[in-house]
Symmetry: C2
Subunit: 288 residues, 2 copies
């Protein structure tokens, strides 16, 4: 049982980690892939006090160095779902499950633009982790819509167990058709079903008959991460202690809303971690 | 007329300044004396992401260097009072007055421990700026209670125009009696008056008959800075945009409450400045 699991790997997550480490808490960081896209593409940052005139990539290296010096490691696993077990949480990260007393969500700019039908058919053919749910579609037709290369790994796995795999990459790739795999072009428009389960995916280039659609996104829609997590203007609703609507769950950084700034993210990570420490102390007292 | 006046000189103020500068706003920083006491005394800071294992003093030097590179200057003037003029603010900084469209308060950990009678006799013998109010006590008896060396400058000025000056330093000093000046020992306990005006100051070493008492503090009690500024648990009440209860006035850093941390202060300074920019843009639209 971890004291805390930090979900995300950007500046907010890193700042939270520093503070948990200093306070001797037992935690892990599930950072997902290395895709802190916004910052890593920034040509020049000059408003993070104390480190002037660096590229976003350089700043991230400086941040990574700090974590390394404090012996903090980021796991590249992606958290897909958090289950609220009452007095603790269970985090589903693909093949691994972790238990934790508290959660710090720092998943970056919240994307809530699900396509039509996506939410309705979630769990009825729509999924976010092919590795997790793929076996349900043995010998069936599946489609993967992916914002990044991770989708290619999922395709390889699914093409071994499914009768047909469609791949719709939303990024530039040379990944090509092979065996039972067809690589498509276009943009996804809506998930279509018969009320009970998915029957097809509508795209800008036409309809595809399919039993399942997996969306591999750079950021998971936050409202799918944890049931009961309240949003406000599409971001995770927090108070000034970074507490969310779910007791024991804190959020920080871009996922809590504007401004999308490094200093804000780092400051919120700091606050979230100290709030977690307070929460753990309080609950430890209750246990005595 | 300034777009904004930043009151305070610590990490929150500096972070706000960076962002106003980048956004081409016309502002000044009234930093008061060089007394960012908490941080400058920290032996080792390791939880400000990106700058590891430095003393508080070193970290402040790094911050100052960043400001210098951006050609941002801190004025050593102390703001004593802000007057809300409806569509702008007038800031009283001793001998100087400044007009501004917005205010960013970053005065550090809020001190609200006024002594007994202090609030009751404010303006009736109690003051915070001897240079400003001293002339009202020409040929009278005045007392200065000071947390720092600035009080000594005030003493020199008052001893020229008052009949008798008592000085009660609350810090270590060799400053000694001379002419009409008596240096006292002890701690101030209460301000005593006849209902209309101050008559004496009670201290741990006895009572002093006096017509006025000036308190020179490292931090001005925030509730004296601006009328109508709402507090919460002794700190300035802000929302997540760092807006206070007074439109056009934002606050950041330790003065908004716990945790008292550099990252939190820097993050809040960043948010406050961007909220000011938004506020100015909105009001500029109204003017068109």
């Amino acid at each position: 049982m971890f004291d805390s699991v930090i979900i995300g790997g950007g500046p907010a997550a890193m700042s939270a980690a520093l503070n948990l480490k200093i306070r001797n808490k037992n935690f892990i960081i599930l950072a997902g892939g290395d895709k802190v896209t916004g910052l890593s593409k920034a040509p020049n940052v000059e408003n993070y006090l104390g480190i002037n005139n660096v590229s976003g990539q350089e700043l991230l290296s400086v941040f990574d160095k700090h974590l390394k010096e404090m012996e903090i490691e980021k796991k590249k696993e992606m958290a897909y779902n958090i289950l609220n077990m009452g007095d603790y949480f269970m985090i589903n990260a693909g093949n691994n499950f972790y238990d934790a007393k508290t959660i710090i969500i720092a998943t970056g700019k919240a994307k809530n633009k699900m396509i039509e039908g996506e939410e309705e058919y979630l769990g009825k053919g729509v999924g976010y982790c092919a590795t997790c749910d793929g076996p349900l579609y043995r010998n069936k037709v599946v489609t993967i819509v992916s914002e990044n290369e991770e989708g290619e790994e999922e395709v390889k796995f699914l093409s071994e167990i499914c009768s047909k795999v469609y791949y719709l990459p939303l990024y530039e790739t040379d990944f090509s058709c092979r065996g039972n795999l067809t690589v498509l072009e276009g943009k996804p428009i809506s998930v279509i079903g018969n009320g009970n389960k998915v029957t097809s995916l509508s795209t800008s280039e036409g309809n595809i008959d399919t039993d399942a659609v997996f969306f591999i996104r750079n950021v998971l829609p936050v409202n799918q991460l944890l049931e009961g997590l309240e949003l406000e203007d599409g971001s995770i609703k927090v108070d000034r202690t970074m507490a969310t609507s779910v007791s024991g769950v804190y959020a920080c950084g871009d996922c809590t809303g504007k401004p999308f700034q490094i200093a804000k993210a780092v400051g919120e990570g700091n606050i979230a971690a100290l709030s977690v420490v307070k929460y753990l102390d309080k609950n430890a007292e209750v246990e005595l």
